[in-house]
C-alpha cells in the first residue's frame, strides 16, 4: 500500500506544477489591467505606471511566476490588490466554512447514495428498485442552482423549517451550525447521492451474479454477510471513483450554493473576486482547489489497493 501511495505521489508532482502554471497563467488570461482599476478613474498615466510597478506587473512573466511559486510554497499567496489583505488569510478564514459544507454534502451523498444503490441493486427489478432508479434519474437531472433556490424558497422562506440563508460557527452553536448547513448540503448532495446510488446499484448487480457470491449464498451464509463481505466491497471500486469525482464536483458547485445561501466560504468570495478582478485571490483559490482535487484523486487511487489487492501488486 505504501509503495502504491509513494508511486502515485511521485506521479502528481509534474501535475501540480502544471496546476500552478495554469493558476498563475490566469493573470495573463484575465482581460484588463488591474493597475488601471486600482489607480482609479482619475489617475494619471504615471500613477498607473507606479501602481503597476508596485505590484510587480511590469516584470517578465516567468520572473513573476517564479516569485509567486516560491512564495506560494512558503504559504504566501500574495495580497488582494484593493483591500491589501493576505490571500492566505482570506482562504484560511473561509476554508473551514467551505469544508464544513462539503463534509456535510459528501456525508449526505454517501449515506443516502450507497444504501439506496445497494437496496436497489440487491432487489433488482422490484418496486423498490424502480422507485429508487426513478428518484436517482430525477436527482441527476436537477441542476444544483434549481434545487438550491427551491430549497431556500420553499423549506427556508415559505415553511420556515430551516434558515434560508446565513452561517453560524460550530463553536458558537453546534445546533445552529447544523441547521444552517443542512439545506445547502442537501442541495449539493442530491445529484451526488443519485450518482453514487446508480453506480452502487450497477456494481452490486454485476457482483451479485458472480460465482463466488452464488457460492457464498449456497454455503448458507446470511444475506448480511454475503452482501457486506463479498458483494459490497467488490462493488466499491467504481463507487469510490464516483465519490472522488463528487468531491471535485462539490468544490465547483459550492461556488453557486455558497452564493445562494450566503455562506462565507471560499466559493462565494471567488465570485466577488472575479467581479473585482482580484487575480491573486483567484490564483490562490484555483491552486488550492487544484491541489485538493489532485490529493483526492491520489487517495482514490490508493484506496483501490484496499478494495482490490491485485492493484497493490501491480
Amino acid at each position: 500500500m505504501l509503495r502504491l501511495a509513494a508511486r502515485r505521489l511521485l506521479k502528481v508532482v509534474p501535475l501540480l506544477l502544471l496546476v500552478s502554471v495554469i493558476a498563475f497563467g490566469l493573470l495573463s488570461m484575465v482581460p484588463g489591467d488591474p493597475a488601471v482599476q486600482i489607480a482609479g478613474e482619475f489617475a494619471t498615466e504615471e500613477q498607473i505606471a507606479e501602481v503597476r510597478s508596485d505590484l510587480g506587473l511590469d516584470r517578465p512573466w516567468i520572473v513573476q511566476y517564479g516569485d509567486w511559486l516560491g512564495n506560494a510554497i512558503q504559504g504566501d499567496l500574495g495580497t488582494s490588490p484593493f483591500s491589501g489583505v493576505s490571500v492566505s488569510t482570506q482562504i484560511w478564514q473561509r476554508l473551514p466554512t467551505t469544508l464544513s459544507l462539503l463534509g456535510w454534502a459528501l456525508a449526505l451523498s454517501v449515506l443516502i447514495g450507497i444504501p439506496a444503490g445497494t437496496i436497489a441493486g440487491w432487489r433488482q427489478g422490484s418496486v423498490v428498485d424502480r422507485v429508487l432508479t426513478m428518484g436517482t434519474s430525477v436527482g441527476v437531472a436537477i441542476p444544483v442552482f434549481v434545487s438550491a433556490l427551491v430549497l431556500a424558497l420553499v423549506v427556508g422562506l415559505k415553511l420556515s423549517w430551516l434558515p434560508a440563508t446565513g452561517y453560524v460557527g460550530f463553536s458558537e452553536s453546534p445546533v445552529d451550525w447544523a441547521r444552517h448547513l443542512f439545506l445547502p448540503a442537501v442541495a449539493l448532495a442530491l445529484t451526488g447521492a443519485a450518482e453514487i446510488a446508480r453506480q452502487t446499484r450497477a456494481g452490486i448487480i454485476q457482483v451479485k451474479n458472480e460465482d463466488y457470491v452464488r457460492t457464498a449464498k449456497a454455503s448458507g451464509l446470511m444475506t448480511r454477510q454475503v452482501l457486506g463481505r463479498h458483494t459490497l466491497k467488490n462493488a466499491m471500486i467504481p463507487v469510490v471513483t464516483v465519490v472522488g469525482l463528487q468531491i471535485s464536483r462539490l468544490f465547483g458547485l459550492s461556488v453557486l450554493v455558497e452564493q445562494i445561501f450566503n455562506i462565507p466560504g471560499i466559493g462565494s468570495r471567488l465570485v466577488t473576486a472575479v467581479f473585482e478582478n482580484d487575480v491573486p485571490y483567484i490564483q490562490g483559490t484555483v491552486l488550492l482547489v487544484g491541489i485538493a482535487i489532485v490529493a483526492v484523486n491520489v487517495a482514490v487511487d490508493v484506496s483501490y489497493g484496499y478494495f482490490n489487492p491485485r492493484v497493490r501488486a501491480a
Binding site: 484588463g32 488591474p34 482599476q37 476554508l95 427556508g156 434560508a164 458558537e172 450566503n262 473585482e276 478582478n277
Partner: protein, 553 residues
C-alpha cells in the same frame, strides 16, 4: 474486524468534520439571536443642539423614514449591501462610486444633505462665503474626537482637505476640490478654503467623500483601506474582506442621539435574490432592493417594509464624439434619443421603477427642469429615421461597452434592438469592469459606454464629471456651446433658488444636446423588516446611512 475498520473510518470522518467545523468558527451571530435587541443602555434624550447658525444638528437634520424611533439604544443591526465598497475604507482614495454606504457609519462629513436635498451642518456648524466668493470659511464643532483619540479641530480638517485635494497622493476626490487653491487654519475651530474660482457647490460636495474626516494620525496606517478611523457613530472592530464589517457603538459620539444600536454588522451580499431572501428570513434586517429583479410587490409578499426616495442617478449612454464623428452632431444624438423607448425599457427591465427621463436631473431634485418631461424628445422612430436621413447619418455604427453583468448586458441589448429600428448599428461589448475604466476613461478607445451613473450630492459634481469638455466621461472633449458659462454661473450663485434657475437652463441645454443619451432615473429602494426604523437614504443611488437606524423588539 471489518465492521471495526468501517467504524474507525466513520469516526475519523466525523472527527475531521468536527475539526473543520471548529476551525470555521465565525463571529457571525445567528440572526435570530443577535437580531433581538437588548435594552442594555438607554440613550440620553437631550434635545438636539443648536448650531451657531441656528440650524439643527445630528439626526434632526435629516428626515427619517420607516417609523418613529423609540428613544432606546440596543441590539445589533445587520444590514446587507450589494456593492463591495468594503474593500476600500479610505474615502479619499476609494474608487468604487457605489461604496459610500460602507463609510457613513465610520466617517463624519463637514456637512450632510437632508432628505429634501438641502445642505445641513455636521462637523461644520456653519459656513460662509466671502462677499467676492474668494473664500469659504467653516466653523467646526469643538467636541469631536476621532476613534483613535485624536481631537478633531481646524488642523485636522486642513490636513484632510489637503489630502483629499492632492491628485499626486492618488486621491480621487481631487476633482471635487479643484476650486480650492489652499486651506488655512484661521482659529482652533475655524478653517478657511481659499478659492481660485467661485464654488458655491462646495458645501454640498463636502457632504460626500471629499468632506469625510479621517484621523490625521491614521493617514499612514497600512490598514486604513480596511479599518476606518473616523469620528462617526460606529467604531470598526473587525473586517473580513467581501464578507462583513463588524462595529460597535462609539460611546463618545458627539451627537447623544446616535447611534441607536450597540453593534453593527455590514454584510456584503452580492446577489440580489440572496439579499432579499436573507432579509425575509431574518438573517439581516434590510438591504437594497434590486428594481431590475424584483418589484415592490415581491418584497411586500415576503412581509418586508419598503423605504424609498428619489435618486440623482441616471441610466445613460455615454458617447465618445471623437471616435464616432457622426455622434458629434447634436441632431444625430437627438435622433438616437428619440429612437429609445424609455417607457418600454422601464416596464420590461425595471419593474416600472426607472422613471423615463429626457433630462439629466431627476424629478424631485432641485435642478430638475419641470418643463422638460419624458416626452420632450418623444419616442418616435419614424421621426428619428427622418432626422438621420436629413443629417446624412444613415450608416452610423458604434460599439458600446458595458459591464459584463447580465442586467447591464440585457439593457444594452434592448437599446441595441431599438436603435437598429432606425438604422443605427450599436454593437454591444460586455466588458470586465476594469476594462470599462481603461477603455472609456483612460485610453479613450471605446466608442460608447452604457452604464448607471449613481448620481452626486450636488449637480455641479455631475456636470463637471460628465458634460464639460475636460470631463472624464466626455472622452471626445466635445464642447457644448454655453455650458462652461452656465457652470460658472451656477458656481457663482449663492442661493439654491439662484442655482436652480441656472440649472434649469442647463437641463434644457443638456436635453437639447444629449451628449450622453439619458434613458431613465432608477428609484432607490430599501427592503427591510418592520422592526427597523429611521432608515435614511441618500440621493446617490442605493446609498443608505445606517447610523440612525433603530432595531425594535
Amino acid at each position: 474486524m471489518k465492521h471495526g475498520r468501517t467504524a474507525k473510518v466513520l469516526v475519523i470522518l466525523a472527527a475531521l468534520a468536527l475539526v473543520a467545523a471548529g476551525c470555521g468558527d465565525s463571529d457571525d451571530g445567528d440572526s435570530a439571536d443577535t437580531a433581538a435587541p437588548g435594552t442594555t443602555e438607554v440613550a440620553e434624550t437631550t434635545a438636539a443642539e443648536t448650531t451657531e447658525g441656528g440650524e439643527a444638528t445630528g439626526t434632526t437634520a435629516t428626515e427619517t423614514t420607516g417609523g418613529e424611533a423609540s428613544g432606546e439604544r440596543g441590539g445589533t443591526l445587520i444590514w446587507g449591501l450589494g456593492s463591495n465598497g468594503a474593500n476600500f475604507f479610505d474615502p479619499h482614495m476609494a474608487t468604487n462610486p457605489f461604496g459610500r454606504s460602507w463609510m457613513y457609519p465610520f466617517y463624519d462629513r463637514l456637512t450632510q444633505i437632508d432628505q429634501d436635498g438641502a445642505v445641513q451642518p455636521m462637523l461644520a456648524t456653519s459656513w460662509e462665503f466671502a462677499e467676492d466668493a474668494s473664500t469659504l470659511t467653516f466653523e467646526l464643532r469643538d467636541d469631536v474626537v476621532f476613534h483613535d483619540g485624536t481631537p478633531f479641530d481646524a488642523e485636522a480638517a486642513k490636513a484632510n482637505l489637503d489630502r483629499a485635494r492632492t491628485q499626486e497622493t492618488g486621491a480621487g476626490t481631487f476633482v471635487d476640490l479643484l476650486a480650492v487653491e489652499s486651506v488655512e487654519v484661521v482659529g482652533p475651530t475655524t478653517v478657511q478654503l481659499n478659492l481660485s474660482t467661485p464654488a458655491s457647490a462646495l458645501p454640498a460636495i463636502l457632504s460626500d467623500q471629499a468632506g469625510m474626516m479621517i484621523s490625521p494620525a491614521a493617514f499612514e496606517n497600512p490598514d486604513l483601506a480596511t479599518m476606518p478611523v473616523g469620528s462617526g457613530p460606529f467604531v470598526a472592530t473587525e473586517f473580513r474582506v467581501d464578507e462583513v464589517m463588524l462595529a460597535e457603538a462609539n460611546e463618545d459620539y458627539w451627537d447623544p442621539e446616535l447611534p441607536r444600536v450597540d453593534n453593527l454588522e455590514l454584510r456584503y451580499i452580492l446577489d440580489p435574490t440572496t439579499r432579499l431572501n436573507a432579509t425575509a428570513s431574518g438573517e439581516i434586517h434590510g438591504g437594497t432592493l434590486d428594481v431590475g429583479q424584483f418589484s415592490r410587490a415581491d418584497a411586500e409578499d415576503l412581509g418586508l417594509v419598503l423605504t424609498d426616495r428619489f435618486s440623482t442617478a441616471l441610466f445613460q449612454l455615454f458617447l465618445n464624439t471623437e471616435r464616432v464623428p457622426a455622434l458629434a452632431n447634436p441632431a444625430v444624438r437627438r435622433a438616437i434619443a428619440m429612437a429609445v423607448d424609455q417607457e418600454g425599457i422601464n416596464t420590461a427591465l425595471y419593474n416600472e421603477e426607472c422613471a423615463p427621463n429626457d433630462q439629466v436631473f431627476g424629478d424631485g431634485w432641485y435642478p430638475h427642469n419641470p418643463d422638460i418631461d419624458s416626452d420632450y424628445l418623444p419616442f418616435d422612430p419614424e421621426m428619428a429615421r427622418q432626422i438621420l436621413e436629413e443629417e446624412g447619418a444613415t450608416d452610423v455604427e458604434f460599439t458600446a461597452i458595458t459591464a459584463n453583468i447580465p442586467s447591464f448586458v440585457a439593457q444594452a441589448e434592448a437599446l441595441q434592438a431599438q436603435l437598429a429600428e432606425v438604422g443605427v448599428t450599436m454593437n454591444v461589448a460586455p466588458t470586465p469592469i476594469p476594462e470599462l475604466i481603461s477603455g472609456f476613461l483612460v485610453n479613450r478607445t471605446a466608442d460608447a459606454y452604457w452604464t448607471l451613473n449613481p448620481g452626486a450630492p450636488d449637480p455641479a459634481k455631475l456636470v463637471s464629471t460628465v458634460w464639460l469638455p475636460q470631463s472624464p466621461f466626455n472622452p471626445g472633449a466635445y464642447e457644448i456651446p454655453g455650458i462652461l458659462e452656465l457652470h460658472q454661473q451656477a458656481q457663482a450663485a449663492t442661493t439654491e433658488d439662484e442655482r436652480a434657475t441656472v440649472y434649469h437652463e442647463m437641463a434644457q441645454l443638456l436635453a437639447d444636446e444629449q451628449l450622453s443619451i439619458a434613458v431613465c432615473t432608477p428609484a432607490s429602494i430599501m427592503a427591510h423588516s418592520a422592526d427597523v426604523t429611521n432608515v435614511q437614504l441618500l440621493s446617490t443611488l442605493s446609498d443608505v446611512d445606517v447610523s440612525a437606524i433603530e432595531v425594535q423588539g
